[in-house]
Every structure is written in C-alpha cells, then in structure tokens.
Symmetry: C2
Subunit: 385 residues, 2 copies
C-alpha cells in the first residue's frame, strides 16, 4: 500500500426527507445563494423544499449552469454575490452545478487577477465561500470531493482545492426519480469509470481498497440496469444504492493508498470540450480502449477484476482478460451509452485534433505511471474508432 | 437502505514515517499532554518520534492508562491539565489509551458534577479538549470515531460524543511490528467482530455497505493469520491492510444506513468488567454464540455471509449456515483466541452474575431489533459454555 493522507469532512445526510437538514448545516445568519441548472428543480418541487429548509434566511438564486459548466456563465454570478454580500453557496443539482458552485466559491474570493487564472495558471486559492450541496443527479461524486471541471472556449479543465469541498451534502434518492434515462445511465457509467480509474492500475497489495472498489463496481453493475428498467426504476433502494455508490466512487476513500490512472478521463474531457459529448459517453468510449491498449501493464488487475467482479474463471489469462473487457463493454451497451467513436460520428480524421488539444493542455504523460505518451494516446484513440 | 447522517472529519495520515504529520495538525501554540499506556512507546522509539514531531511546543506526559482504561487512573490527569493549562491531548497507543484520552478530553471541561456522571448519568458534554491520536495497536477504530469505553469498579461502560472524535490520527504500520502476538490477534478479532455487529443483522438492501463489510471481513481473514506467522508477520503490507481494516471497521462508514446488533459486545463488556478478560477474547466467545442462537432472525445475512465471505455454496441452507459459523470459530481459533467460556474458566454458575450486571447496566433489550431479553441472553451464554 502507498502512504496516504485522507480527510473528508463533508457531512452527508442520506435518505428521503433529508433536505430539511440544510437548516442545521447553514449558519442562521448566512446570506445564501441557491445555484442550480436548467430549472427542473422548480418543476419537481425540490426548489420549494430547499427554500423551506432555508427558513427565514436571506437568499437569492442563480440559475442556468449548463452541463459542463461554462466559465462565462459562472462568472455572471459574481456581481450578485458582491451586491448581496452572499456568504454561503448552496448548489442544487448534479456534478455540473456543484462543480460550477465550487468555481464560483473560489472566484468570489479571488483577488489576484482574472478568475480563469485559477484554472489556466493554477493561481493560488487561499480563501473561498463555504458551500453545501443538494445532489439531484448521482454521478460525479462532486458533492463530497474538492475537485471540479470548468469549460471555456472548448477547453475543459480540472481544478482542485480543499477549500472547495462542500461542507455538507444532501443525498435524497427520491429526488432522482424525475431524472431521464439518459441522465441515469450517464451517472452510473460515470461512477463506474471513476472506480476503474482508481482500481485498474497496478497491484500495490492494498486489499481493502481493492475490495471496496470491487464492491462499488458490482453494485453499479447490479443496480444500473434496474434503474433503467420500467419495472424496477422507481425502487428507492435501487436509486439509493446507485446514489451512495456514485458518492463513494470519488470521495477519496478508494483512492487512498493506491495509484490512479485517469487517462480515459483526460481524453474524454477533450471529446467533450471539442464536440460537446456528455461526459459519461466519452468515458464509455475511451475507457474500453484504455483497457485494450494497456492490457499488458494492467494485466494483474485485469485478471483480478475478471474474477472478482465478473466471476470469470474459465480459460487462460488472455481469454479471461478478453472476457472482462467484453463484459465491461456489454455493461456499457446495456446502459445505452456508446462504446465507439463512430457512434458519436467521429473517425480517424479527428484523432490529430484531439491529440493537439491534449498537447495544448499538457496531457502528454498520462496513466498511473505517467508513461502514456501522445503516440500511445493515438493508439488508444484508434482502438476506440 | 435506512436513512443516515455520516460525518467523519478525522484527518488520517497513513504509512511509514507519517508521525511527522503531527506537526501540521496541532496548533503551533498548543500546550500538549501526551497520553500513553505502559511505556512500551519509550522502548521502541515511538515516544521520541512523537516528541520530535511536536517541535518546540510545550508538552507534558501522562502515562499508565491500562487496558480497559480505569476511571480512577484517568482522572489523575486532571490536576496536571489544569496546572499546565493543557489545550491539546495527544493519545499515543491503542484503543484503551485513545478511549481514555477521549474521556479525559470531556472530563477536563466538565463542570456540572463528578466526571463519572458523563457515563453513569449521561450528563451533557458541551465542550471538550481537542485531541489527536497516534495509533500503535490497530483494533478498536477509536482513532477515528467518537466513542469510548471506561471501566470503574467492575462496570465497563460506553460513552459517545462527536466532540471526542480525534481531529487527526496517524496510522504507521511499522509501529505495529513490536506488538505481541496476543495484541495482534486481539486486534484482528476485535475488528472482525466490529464488522459483524454492523453486518450480520437483517437485510435492508444496502448493497454497498454489505460489500464493504464483506471486503473488510475477507481482508482480516486473509491477513490475520499472516500477521501471526513468523515468515509473514513483518510484511508491512500485511500490517497496513490489517490496520486500515480495523479503522474502517468502526469509523461509521459501514454502519451508515444499516441496522446494528452489538449484543456480543454488551455481554463481552460484562465479562471484561467482572473477570478482567481481554476485550477481543470476550467477543470471540460471545459472538459465535450469538450467531448460533440468533441464526433464524439472521438467516438471510448468514447465508449471504457464508457465500460471499467463505464461498460456501454447497449443501442446504442450514448446512451452509452451520458451515459459516464453524468457519468463523475456526478463524478465531487460528487467531489463538478462546471461543468458549470454559476456556476462560467460567461455567454455568457464572451466568446469573453476568445477567445481573447486564440488568444493572440497562442492557435488557439487545440486538438489532432490541428483542433480546435476559432470557435469550441466558441462552446465548449457555451456548457459549
């Protein structure tokens, strides 16, 4: 096991009716900015529940955060925050809204230049507005981690700072019942690949982390299809298991003490930035390709994954690895996400553009050993055609 | 899944050499009381590492915390804390030292009567000294939870308060290399039963929690015997896996959203209070008896446990349950702990005394459904003879 430090102080309130816990978490005298996306929370009653829970606190709202939150949208909140002297942000939404709120939290207190410098120049963030989250779309784990991704002019770039971790997160599985099938499948696949990025590397004899990762993968494989099936999709336990899996997939726990890959994510971010593809639908294309191209360096873990997650024990090692990759792709297909670039209308002619973007963003030494060069990334993209 | 709130803000520093992180965690101007047990940390160099990490901070020491920390010992620290105006406690030891430090943390700020009222009368604890922990004996999980157990005049009683959760915990597996085999086996068995108390109840379709619990159990089963075997016991990965398992066994995570039992613990506490038996060695006796007597109400989970943890799939349901109980007892035997009251020189004539103590401590409705009456507890004790 590798050395690690782990600290996740986000307070989680999980279950039906937990939105009322907001009242306990936000200071009584706080001026709150409620941040959300396209407005579905106004139709399904979540917005009203949130405002009720805020009691008599002063609040305002800022909406319109899009999937893959856009820098230009986010900074429009800053004059309102300034005018009203907002001192608490409450994100109500999925990963994009929460990521956007994190960026706003940092930008509102950033005085050393244009807020974009936080991302582009990795400018130091030494203070931020506190924030909480009401999760409506389980997927990214953003509700209890300190990272986010923001897009500007086709550049989709990550940022992280411990000041940006939500102080609390409300996870009410009932809230997810109004999601579309596409949102559900994206969330399941996103969480699945998050686990794989931290699991499918090389063995460091971190037995608990491996078992926890395998437990999350098995749960997502079991509950994912149920969350799309009309007979089981409204089962709150199905939603709860998927929701808790997605949070634990990226809250730092399974990452503690193990190497991490994230190649599929870095390539995927470029597909989203360039071609506006849903985040999860980039991962379902890039991740199987990473498995195939990196099967030799990931050999031990692929065999363990085959046996423990998919119960593949027959055949020689290569056959078992083939089978595990095939089952992974089949799982993605069952979740109705694409597994090939051709399904999103991209072909070999797009590869150079994608590689250029990666180069431009400094993504030239990827993978758990930082040994994935642009040449190997090209092979991965070719494997994804 | 049941509703839950989960909040574990303890900062974990895991790995060889992490004791130096103390310096980052404790305020620079703190006056620190270093609390420890019998003094082995002075022989194995851990005390010196801790003092080095404290830098120039003012510090004093308070030692002599015994296994199952005694109230009369603990309150002897209070004059020193008062005289020196100590404002940070640093526990260096196993669960007993950390539990003791938690009680001291509460007692030092308790002004509403005798500190024993905190336990006996459940008096409100509204402030406490902050504390950190350097774990030397992985077992109880006390290093990142908010509970403790203190003994006075044969009464071994629990207390809990979120103010008493360590702000940080250092987990250096190298520190555990000097433990005796008895300490190691006690730690593994304690952690194992902690998981079982939260896992072996009734099914609430909490898939992630079940998988995580099973992962911890499998890890302890795999690494426990290695930690006693002379050829493998010094392998730091073995120690690290056991150590991280023990922390995660009782940090609140696998308890979130599921029912909990704790019958074996409540009976075990009386065995320790009355007859001075090591905590883990009471659990290795009481827990198998609980499994046997409660096999009907725990049926579904026993079958799941048999299959997933022990890979028992042959035979009818009762045979599979029999096998799972037998394998659990065999595991305890491999860890060189007793599984019968007769092995600690107790017989049927002691049962009334144990039941009286449980009655005296209000432990008359035990188990995950609070339906274990004293009559059922008697049957459990008889099954443990």
């Amino acid at each position: 096991m590798l050395n690690f430090s782990f600290h996740n102080p986000t307070s989680i309130h999980f279950g039906v009716g937990q939105i009322e816990k907001i009242d306990k978490e936000i200071p009584q005298d706080a001026k709150v900015l409620v941040i959300y996306g396209g407005g579905s929370i106004k139709k399904n009653g979540i917005f009203d529940q949130v405002i009720d829970a805020l009691g008599g606190r002063e609040w305002a709202e800022f909406s319109g955060i899009e999937p893959n939150p856009n820098y230009d949208t986010l900074i429009k909140s800053l004059p309102l925050i300034n005018d009203m002297q907002v001192d608490y942000l409450l994100a109500v939404g999925g990963g994009s809204v929460i990521d956007g709120a994190k960026f706003i939290a940092a930008a509102a207190k950033f005085e050393a230049g244009e807020p974009w410098d936080i991302i582009a120049k990795r400018a130091k963030v030494s203070q931020a507005l506190p924030l909480g989250a009401v999760l409506t779309l389980p997927a990214t784990g953003s509700e209890s981690n300190s990272s986010g991704v923001v897009t500007r002019n086709g550049h989709k770039l990550p940022f992280t700072n411990k000041l940006l971790r939500p102080q609390f997160a409300v996870l009410d599985p009932q809230v997810t019942l109004s999601l579309s099938d596409r949102q559900i499948s994206n969330g399941i696949v996103d969480a699945f690949v998050h686990v794989m990025e931290q699991y499918l590397t090389y063995d460091v004899n971190a037995k608990v982390q491996d078992r926890f990762s395998e437990g999350l993968l098995m749960t997502l494989i079991e509950e994912g299809p149920k969350a799309l099936n009309s007979e089981t999709k409204d089962d709150l336990d199905v939603r709860a298991n998927a929701m808790w899996s997605a949070t634990l997939a990226l809250n730092g726990l399974i990452a503690a003490g193990v190497p991490q890959d994230w190649t599929a994510h870095m390539i995927g971010h470029e597909l989203t930035g360039l071609y506006d593809i849903d985040h999860a639908r980039t991962l379902s294309i890039t991740f199987p390709a990473v498995m195939k191209v990196r099967r030799d360096v990931k050999r031990d873990k692929l065999l363990q994954y085959a046996e423990r997650v998919w119960h593949v024990v027959d055949g020689n090692e290569d056959q078992r690895i083939d089978k595990a990759i095939e089952l992974t792709e089949n799982f993605f297909k069952t979740m109705n996400v694409p597994t090939r670039l051709s399904e999103i209308d991209l072909d070999a002619t797009h590869i150079d553009t994608i590689l250029e973007k990666l180069q431009q963003h400094g993504m030239v030494a990827l993978g758990e050993r930082r040994e994935i060069t642009p040449d190997i990334t090209r092979i991965i993209l070719e494997a994804a055609l």
